[in-house]
């Protein structure tokens, strides 16, 4: 009887340890996006400042780096120079697009004027585009291949290394 209890105990403890150990290396805030491998939800939004309409479907033919951000987001300030520098290096072979949600056009204009820009920044007034892309917290960046399919999603501020690694998935 005691032996049975011991074996059952060991099995239960081993299962718990296994589950905890398996989750140890994972980022609890990370959510796998069901959109990876699927067509990017189509949208057509107005660019802040220029008023130019940008239709994501018309950008097919080259990889697209689609970055969701906002002026009220701290890490977005940190990430912005990386995006601008990489856009200057990689465009026009790669198209960079920014989408800002729940923000004020004046604040965005000021942000871009102070920190520079190299690509269109679109205003997603009610955040519907962000919802369709499953955006939780900003910044989040999607890497879309020339066929219009989402190949990778990156959560948090991008570094040049991370950007290039993720972009490589959309270049293949």
């Amino acid at each position: 009887m005691n032996r049975t209890v011991l074996i059952v105990g060991i099995v239960i403890v081993a299962a718990i340890v296994f589950i905890l150990f398996a989750g140890l290396g994972k980022d609890p805030a990370h959510i796998d996006s069901p959109l990876v491998g699927r067509p990017a939800p189509p949208f057509s939004l107005k660019a802040v400042g220029t008023g130019e309409m940008v239709d994501i479907e018309k950008l097919r033919g080259k990889p697209v780096v689609l970055n969701f951000w906002a002026t009220w987001c701290g890490p977005c300030y940190e990430e912005h120079p990386t995006l601008v520098a990489n856009a200057r290096n990689l465009q026009p072979g790669v198209q960079f697009v920014g989408v800002v949600f729940n923000d004020d056009e004046d604040k965005i204009m000021r942000f871009l004027a102070e920190r520079g820009t190299a690509y269109p920044t679109l205003l997603d007034a009610q955040g519907k585009t962000a919802i369709a892309y499953g955006v939780g917290g900003v910044p989040e960046t999607f890497f879309i291949n020339p066929e219009g399919k989402i190949m990778a999603k990156f959560e948090g501020p991008l570094t040049t290394e991370a950007l290039q690694a993720e972009l490589a998935k959309a270049m293949r």
Binding site: I31, D32, S33, P34, L35, P41, P42, F43, S44, L45, K46, G51, M53, D55, F101, N102, D124, Q126, G127, K128, T129, A130, I131, A132, Y133, G134, V135, G136, G137
Partner: protein
């Protein structure tokens, strides 16, 4: 002229539409109090992606407000509860559903407690049956005073008991 320009700009703005993902609505369009009630109900079933385990109905965040508004709009267009949940699930994954679906590994959440209860029940019944089978001591034996029926192994305890009985 300016008004026309803005009107054109407004007409051209196109946000991703649920119809592209879900097809046509499968229910009646809702309005008024019924729409508000259904929106509230749905808001308690969807997880706010930027909060710690909060439903979008309980979160003050902008993201949650946007999601509530999206749910309200879809319900007003006649999308059913299942369709709206599926719309959010398609972009955020099952994570967005506060009640996990009964499928795959998730099914364990429902099945394990029932299984553990069933195993416990079997153990209790087996034990009870075994107890029933053990012979009951004879009626006379029960009348024997407790102190004399006990076998005392401990010599110290035996001495203490002896002294107590003497006094």
């Amino acid at each position: 002229m300016i008004a026309t320009f803005f009107l054109i700009a407004l007409l051209q703005i196109k946000v991703p539409d649920a119809a592209q993902v879900l097809g046509p609505p499968q229910g009646p369009p809702l309005a008024g109090a019924q729409l508000e009630r259904r929106t509230m109900e749905l808001s308690s079933e969807l997880r706010c992606p930027v909060c710690q385990g909060l439903a979008i109905g309980d979160s003050p965040s902008i993201m949650a407000a946007n999601m509530r508004e999206q749910a309200r709009e879809l319900l007003s267009r006649g999308y059913t509860r299942e369709q709206v949940l599926s719309y959010f699930e398609k972009s955020y994954g099952q994570f967005v559903l506060l009640k996990p679906k009964f499928q795959g590994v998730n099914a364990l959440v429902w099945l394990l407690p029932v299984l553990v209860l069933a195993i416990g029940f079997v153990i209790v019944v087996t034990k009870a049956k075994r107890l029933e089978k053990t012979p009951v001591p004879a009626a006379g034996a029960a009348a024997v005073p407790e102190a004399t029926s006990e076998v005392i192994d401990d010599p110290y305890l035996a001495r203490v008991r002896e002294m107590v009985e003497k006094s």
